[in-house]
């Protein structure tokens, strides 16, 4: 059909000002129904019927921070072994079984958790849960599969040496955390992978991946009682209790303020600037989220507008508080053209100092930051997988049932003073560590002139 002139067109468009956004209808946040099986496994369900799919997420609250000292990477290897076969089923047969129901399967490992997820057409829900339980509860963890998986991870480590972002992430964690359980990336190191055997993986599975620290979350066109029954059938014989959470590994290191991993002839420098900051359970969580949004959490953040839109030094810059069960890192990350390295560091440190108080957020910045976080909040609950991820946050960090309902009003209560206060409290310029992966021959002189002390040069294979 063709619209005839005048059919929809009223007065000429008023382009003298932007139309103010109208009201948005209230959105009921997904309700989570909760049960606990006799073995301690929590079963949570959310009814979500948009499409005939069910998204299962199994959270195990043990991750890379539970790696024993010297065996860094064990949690990740063990997670990798979960889908490598069960009972008589080989690794390939396990994946054939998943493929036969069109399942989308994934495992993910973080510092505090291991997550296995599977999304399927609703009619395959029972089958998917059976497979998920074979994977998580009854993995075969065979010697010859272990040797292959470990070898692939060693090859991966070899390749990561050429990826500046990966080198920067690993070096940064080590610099700010040292021997702390958060001080290594989940993949571990050549030495630690070489030191582990299949029994270590079996032991990790036996000690850490237990029902009492786990939550099964189902989101989809499904009924709570039915899912509890299915979960009971599939996971009922999962037994044992998990080790406690790991210790803290002693005091944090005092690293130099400026560090460089040389990457000769690199066209860009990969930067990380940050420190160990704050845990997820901080009462300052909501003000910190607003503060980070303004500093480096969105396109129109101070850091991105400065380094990208004003100076053109980068494709993008961002900051994040990586909230975890214990104090997580704050990190600014950006990849800048080599010639702009020192300038980008200077500007970044300036922006952090600014938001701590020398250049407090303006009313307009605060309004924009709060609106960006709250007005579109509903879109975080569109798909089953998104809702599953939201529920997972509640389970991992022990957040209250009304967390989603409270998010918007709590964000809206944040003031400019709150922003300065929490940033001054949780970011300390004297402790900020700057790491550069870049062409030292070209940038060395400029770095020295930053006033952060002589840069400490780290060998590329130091991590």
């Amino acid at each position: 059909m063709t619209v005839r002139p005048g059919s929809g067109r009223g007065a000429k468009v008023d382009r003298s000002q932007l139309p103010a956004p109208g009201p948005t209808r209230p959105f009921p946040f997904p309700a989570i129904e909760k049960s606990t099986l006799p073995n301690g496994l929590r079963v949570w369900t959310v009814h979500h019927t948009q499409v005939p799919l069910v998204a299962f997420t199994l959270l195990i609250r043990r991750g890379a921070s539970s790696d024993p000292a010297g065996l860094e990477g064990l949690a990740a290897v063990t997670a990798d072994m979960l889908d490598e076969g069960s009972g008589e089923r080989s690794a390939i047969e396990m994946h054939e079984a998943l493929a036969r129901v069109g399942a989308q399967f994934d495992t993910d490992i973080g510092s505090d958790a291991t997550v296995a997820s599977v999304t399927v057409l609703s009619r395959f829900a029972r089958r998917a849960l059976e497979l998920l339980s074979d994977i998580v509860v009854r993995p075969a963890i065979r010697e010859h599969d272990f040797s292959r998986v470990r070898q692939l991870r060693l090859h991966r480590l070899t390749q990561l040496r050429d990826m500046p972002g990966a080198v920067a992430d690993r070096a940064f964690l080590r610099l700010v955390y040292g021997a702390h359980p958060y001080g290594h990336s989940p993949i571990g190191s050549e030495a630690s992978l070489a030191a582990m055997d299949v029994d270590a993986a079996r032991g990790f599975h036996a000690r850490s991946m237990r029902p009492g620290v786990s939550t099964l979350i189902a989101v989809g066109d499904c009924d709570h009682a039915a899912i509890v029954q299915l979960a009971s059938d599939a996971f009922g014989d999962w037994t044992g209790t998990s080790d406690g959470e790991p210790g803290d590994g002693g005091p944090l290191p005092h690293s130099a303020r400026l560090n460089v991993v040389p990457r000769p002839k690199a066209p860009q420098s990969e930067l990380r600037i940050g420190q160990v900051s704050v845990a997820r359970d901080t009462p300052d969580y909501h003000p910190l989220v607003v503060a980070n949004t303004i500093l480096g959490g969105q396109f129109v953040s101070r850091i991105n507008l400065n380094l990208r839109e004003d100076k053109g030094l980068t494709y993008g810059a961002r900051t994040a508080f990586e909230f975890r069960r214990r104090s997580g890192p704050f990190v600014l990350q950006v990849s800048v053209q080599t010639s702009g390295t020192a300038k980008a560091i200077e500007e970044s440190l300036g922006e952090i100092a600014g938001i701590r108080g020398t250049r407090p957020v303006t009313p307009a910045e605060l309004e924009l930051g709060i609106a960006a976080l709250t007005r579109g909040y509903a879109r975080s609950f569109e798909t089953g997988e998104q809702i599953g991820r939201g529920a997972l946050q509640l389970a991992l960090y022990d957040l209250p049932d009304d967390y989603f309902e409270q998010f918007v009003p709590r964000i809206e209560r944040v003031t400019a003073d709150d922003v300065s206060r929490v940033m001054a409290r949780h970011l300390d310029p004297a402790r900020l560590v700057t790491l550069v992966v870049g062409d030292l021959d070209v940038i060395g002189q400029n770095l020295t002139e930053l006033g952060l002390g002589e840069p400490v040069v780290l060998p590329p294979d130091a991590f």
């Binding site: 382009r15 692939l152 090859h155 960006a372 579109g376 879109r379 609950f381």
Partner: protein, 434 residues
């Protein structure tokens, strides 16, 4: 399984697609311009993508950043450019639909008065940094440059990557930007889809109100340039990598053309995931490779299939090449098993269902409606698209593998560590890439 919609065409030629979904109080606004890097010419590459960046720098009646008002309204937004099209999208709370339409229509109708040399220079620097970050400073990052250059002759529109050549980006002038905008950025070369919490009548009236006043531009004719590979083109280059990697590429049918879906399934069962034949042989059983993947890269004029594998230490690219062609020959001779066909069908069904979950963003329902409308003039194609996969047979897969994955006509690219040219697959010559 489908995406219900209504289609309207404004007087100025703008296609409008409307899809209601009231599950979430959000609306996806998705705008496609039928222009991509294939509309560039040699010496002027990277232009369509650089232009996309300029679309976020303000227009006549809102000469500030594009992001700020929309983020302030709770929107998320982005844009992207590929060889065939450029898309822009916002996902906004229901009450901010009019704002998004105001903003999109202002940059469609009134971009040039706000375009300055300073904005242009700044975004060119940003794009050069995007190129450094995603291609030059990334292991194997220049592979697409080498592959496309070998697959298509220098004057073919698919010869270059969307990010473009550095020298070309540095040579662009503001006048070229203006001419490009006038040629391609107008209602008759665009399609807008709204999906989500809308009232269709009011949504159409708003689109007409904001976009109806923009003058129709000159129609853009489709480009069709043929290309063929006469032989096995064998090239290599050295890169800052630890392990040598082999890339094989062939010309294949265009997006949605006959054989496209079969090749999609064939490349999946060859090398997508742990159940695939090449993963099983190269990574799992023989441990010759650390990874292997394959894809049918469908494009508007023609496609190309690609298989990529990285040699495990101690193994050579020649070994990988041999094993890969043995598996291709076996698939061509014996065809897929019934089990593989069944798996392919249920996976297609699930994948299509997954695609119905979101209204906006890259790949959401609004983006899919526009893809079908722009490339096929048939936004109702979702169901037919799924059917393409469901009617594939053992014989049809055998036929495409035999016809298209031809060992005698392909590109064979080796990327090897600096100073280790001997690790390249046999008989290859050095390619110049940057």
């Amino acid at each position: 399984m489908n995406i219900p919609f209504t289609k309207h065409t404004l007087e100025n030629g703008l296609d409008v697609l409307l899809h209601e979904d009231h599950a979430c109080p959000i609306v996806a606004v998705n705008l496609w311009y039928h222009v991509g890097s294939k509309n560039e010419t040699p010496g002027h590459t990277g232009f369509a993508h650089l232009f996309e960046h300029l679309m976020f720098e303000g227009s006549q009646h809102h000469d500030h950043g594009f992001f700020q008002p929309l983020q302030g309204a709770g929107a998320t937004l982005n844009g992207s450019t590929n060889a065939d099209r450029t898309n822009y999208w916002e996902v906004v709370p229901t009450g901010a639909l009019e704002l998004a339409l105001w903003m999109e229509s202002d940059r469609m109708g009134y971009l040039l008065p706000a375009l300055t040399d300073a904005k242009f220079t700044n975004q060119r620097d940003v794009v050069l940094n995007e190129r450094r970050q995603n291609y030059e400073n990334r292991p194997y990052g220049l592979a697409p440059m080498a592959l496309l250059a070998a697959l298509f002759p220098p004057d073919h529109p698919y010869h270059w990557t969307t990010i473009g050549d550095v020298a070309d980006l540095q040579a662009v002038t503001l006048d070229e930007v203006r001419a490009f905008f006038r040629r391609y950025y107008h209602p008759a070369n665009a399609s807008i889809a709204l999906a989500g919490d809308i009232d269709p009548d009011r949504a159409l009236a708003l689109v007409d109100q904001y976009f109806g006043e923009i003058a129709a531009g000159e129609r853009v004719d489709a480009i069709h340039v043929a290309a063929s590979l006469p032989r096995d083109v064998r090239i290599h280059f050295e890169d800052r990598v630890e392990l040598p990697r082999l890339y094989l590429a062939w010309h294949t049918p265009a997006m949605f053309a006959e054989g496209d879906a079969d090749l999609d399934l064939a490349t999946d069962l060859l090398a997508n995931g742990k159940t695939s034949r090449l993963y099983r042989r190269l990574v799992f059983d023989e441990r010759l490779a650390t990874d292997v993947s394959a894809s049918q890269n469908s494009r508007e004029m023609m496609g190309y299939a690609q298989i990529t594998a990285t040699a495990a230490p101690g193994h050579t690219l020649d070994e990988l090449e041999r094993a890969i062609f043995e598996e291709i020959a076996r698939l061509a001779a014996e065809g897929p098993t019934d089990e593989e066909i069944d798996r392919g069908r249920v996976q297609a069904e699930a994948q299509f269902m997954f695609r119905l979950q979101t209204v906006g963003g890259f790949g959401g329902k609004s983006d899919q409606l526009n893809a079908y409308n722009v490339f096929l003039k048939d936004p109702a194609y979702f169901r037919k698209d799924l059917e393409r996969y469901q009617v594939c047979t053992k014989a049809s897969l055998q036929a495409v593998v035999t016809r298209y994955l031809d060992p005698a006509r392909r590109v064979t690219l080796s990327i090897v560590p600096h100073g280790r040219v001997s690790l390249a697959a046999r008989d290859s010559t050095a390619a110049v890439v940057s």
